[in-house]
Symmetry: C2
Subunit: 418 residues, 2 copies
């Protein structure tokens, strides 16, 4: 496993190349596929074949391990990895989108050809969470795995909370600083986190990879005063990816959550990631570290490579995908949460009675509440923390409240986790 | 690797046995060595050879993997493991004392006989820290690894802080609740944490296992008002095991530390453990979880067993011990820390001047300080946070202060970490 091809030579590909060249000279990068072959680069590529025809790497007979750093769930990356697996090459990738969308097919192909797909770099950067789950914790009957899986979102939420700037301003700053992409859709809409939790869910519960079952909300609807209200009730706001298993069913979801401010991951700030694993032997294990960046991601690829070279050929999901479990997916409408509800109403006699009435008729019980003057003159903001209740019931009640005449904006809600 | 012998059938041995019997039926426990063969046990041992002659397991030709749960660094455990390795049996153990004291010899023997010594269970219970370091993070040039490695001490410090009871009272409570042993020496004196940090140091830095180089202080000298003063300056008190690497040297130490109350591990409370790894690629990785108990420890043994069965025969220290580095050990006297100093003095004119004079002459600069009435009438308590300074200089200054006539007790000091 000493001859390596690198497909895609951006931040991650170059970081990996630098680490290998400097610290792991027993490996040899023999071919690199780049977009623009004429571009001047700082790295020394002497004695390395450089091509712009990425698919060459899939069939180059000298390459034993293909490091895929192109990204994207379809197109070049998909075709490359598929062909490389058919040619019995081991794959190491940081591409969560590819695995979330085509993982089952690629894993089957890898198993059939007796090669690995390693993807420590795809989830939570350098934190060795894939290894920890696949080779250790998954034997303990994991009931829940969740975490802060997108550094961009965590950075944005942290800045909103600490600096009191609203979403669009913070996003612009983040883009300037390189913490957010120019097209931030995948990050801020929760899609990237959803790719990752879909993979973790599959690893943890032995279920096929099913991205379409993952419920997704991003951070773009979180408002500035949500942080203040959350804090008053003892919560922080984080975008979490959550996979939870019941007896014969499971759920996968990504959305903003209120989490208790004294929980382990409430203090995981800025671009850091965190993963929490709950199982029936150990209880709770928490892993925290940087979730992105060239160096950590490159380091995860190096670790996967050394693993391979040690002869540690893992089944990509820990168990054979042919033996994965058939569990029913739980629709989020059938899940239960405690909710944070924010309602802006005309400050008139009887409004709260009407809201209370709607909640009571839907059997939604109030845990805590608070009312204060709204920014808008003559209006009040009411914040309610409910007890646990099914999502579909809350949505019905919210619809009824939204239909009230004296409601200013649509009711905002954020689920409370844990 | 399906035939297993278990030596020692206490909490951990039984927890492991139950997990294997219930969830991992592809493995078979064929012999168990117990102290008292006549003792009634809740577990079903039908079809299993039970012996009181533990050494039989080392030579039983049917046993492929020996799970050592006897404990202790010498005597039966040492003899058993040594003989078993000579008979080419893989060892899985939770015995940090044995490895800290005889690890080099045993690791050499394992390498020679081409078998493994797995010890995920020996450090931080179920947290997969050995795997994370050995098979992932150690390739990133680790400069420091540290953590809360003893659950008993962490439980005691947490209770002292939260409940305002002093050390001996909390220890008694902890013993009643089973969180501390009847003979708590190994825990409260820091020896257990020292065993663990010695092993982590060896793993992280590729140095031979050298317990005798580990500086050790326990928690038994921590006083109740230390918590209050620490808090006023923004710190918590934790017993940390720390291994740190400089260019050609390294240090290993265990002692109470003041750590910033907003650091990741300041909130790791009660019997929880935490390990922090700093390297030059990822930066900081933090792992948190329960550090002891039958189930987590048993689960770590199960994970090691499955690893072995997958054919993942690791060198016990990740690299061959024959290639370990020769680094100089740094004496703690030559290390530098910021210090928390607590001085109880007669409340008289000129006392603070005299202390300041001693500090200034020794070039110890004061970062923060506070003086208040002592419990003892006519005395004052002075607390000083120093800037970073070499330990030997601080000890010299403390000696001079202790020699002052108006000092009530000897100066107390706690090192500040980070």
């Amino acid at each position: 496993m000493r001859n390596i091809g690198i497909a895609g030579f951006g931040t991650v590909g170059q970081a990996f190349f630098n680490q290998i060249s400097k610290n792991h000279k027993n490996f040899k990068v023999i071919q690199i596929a780049v977009k623009n072959i004429k571009k001047k680069r700082k790295v020394n590529l002497k004695n390395i074949k450089v091509t712009s025809k990425v698919q060459e790497l899939a069939t180059n007979p000298d390459i034993q391990v293909l490091v895929e750093c192109i990204g994207g769930s379809s197109g070049a990356a998909y075709k490359l990895v598929k062909t490389a697996l058919e040619n019995k090459k081991h794959i190491i990738t940081a591409n969560k989108a590819l695995l979330a969308m085509h993982g089952n097919e690629l894993v089957k192909l890898a198993e059939k050809n007796n090669v690995s797909i390693s993807y420590e770099a795809a989830i939570a950067g350098g934190i060795p969470v894939v290894k920890a789950v696949r080779e250790n914790l998954k034997y303990n009957n994991i009931s829940k795995i969740y975490g802060i899986l997108n550094g961009t979102c965590n950075y944005i939420l942290t800045k909103m909370e600490k600096e009191g700037k609203d979403f669009s301003l913070v996003l612009k700053d983040a883009q300037k600083l390189g913490f957010a992409e120019l097209d931030p859709t995948f990050d801020v809409k929760g899609i990237d986190a959803a790719h990752k939790i879909t993979l973790l869910s599959s690893l943890a519960f032995n279920v096929p990879i099913k991205f379409s079952s993952t419920y997704i909300e991003g951070v773009d609807k979180v408002e500035l005063d949500d942080f203040r209200f959350a804090k008053e009730f003892g919560y922080k706001i984080k975008l979490l990816g959550v996979a939870e298993r019941k007896k014969d069913s499971y759920e996968q979801r990504v959305h903003p959550c209120l989490i208790k401010e004294d929980s382990e991951i409430a203090k995981v700030e800025n671009e850091l990631n965190a993963v929490v694993i709950i199982d029936d032997m150990i209880g709770k294990t928490v892993l925290i570290g940087p979730g992105a960046g060239g160096k950590p991601t490159g380091a995860a690829i190096v670790a996967d490579l050394i693993d391979l070279n040690r002869g540690n050929i893992n089944l990509p999901l820990g168990n054979s995908i042919s033996q994965s479990k058939k569990l029913k997916n739980i629709d989020i409408l059938d899940s239960s949460f405690a909710y944070f509800l924010k309602i802006v109403v005309k400050d008139e006699v009887g409004v709260m009675r009407r809201i209370s009435d709607i909640l009571a008729r839907n059997k939604i019980s109030i845990d805590q509440q608070k009312q204060e003057h709204s920014n808008k003159r003559g209006y009040a903001t009411i914040v309610i923390i409910t007890h646990k209740i099914k999502e579909k019931i809350v949505l019905k009640a919210i619809k009824e409240i939204n239909n009230m005449k004296r409601i200013n904006n649509k009711v905002k809600f954020i689920r409370i986790e844990g």
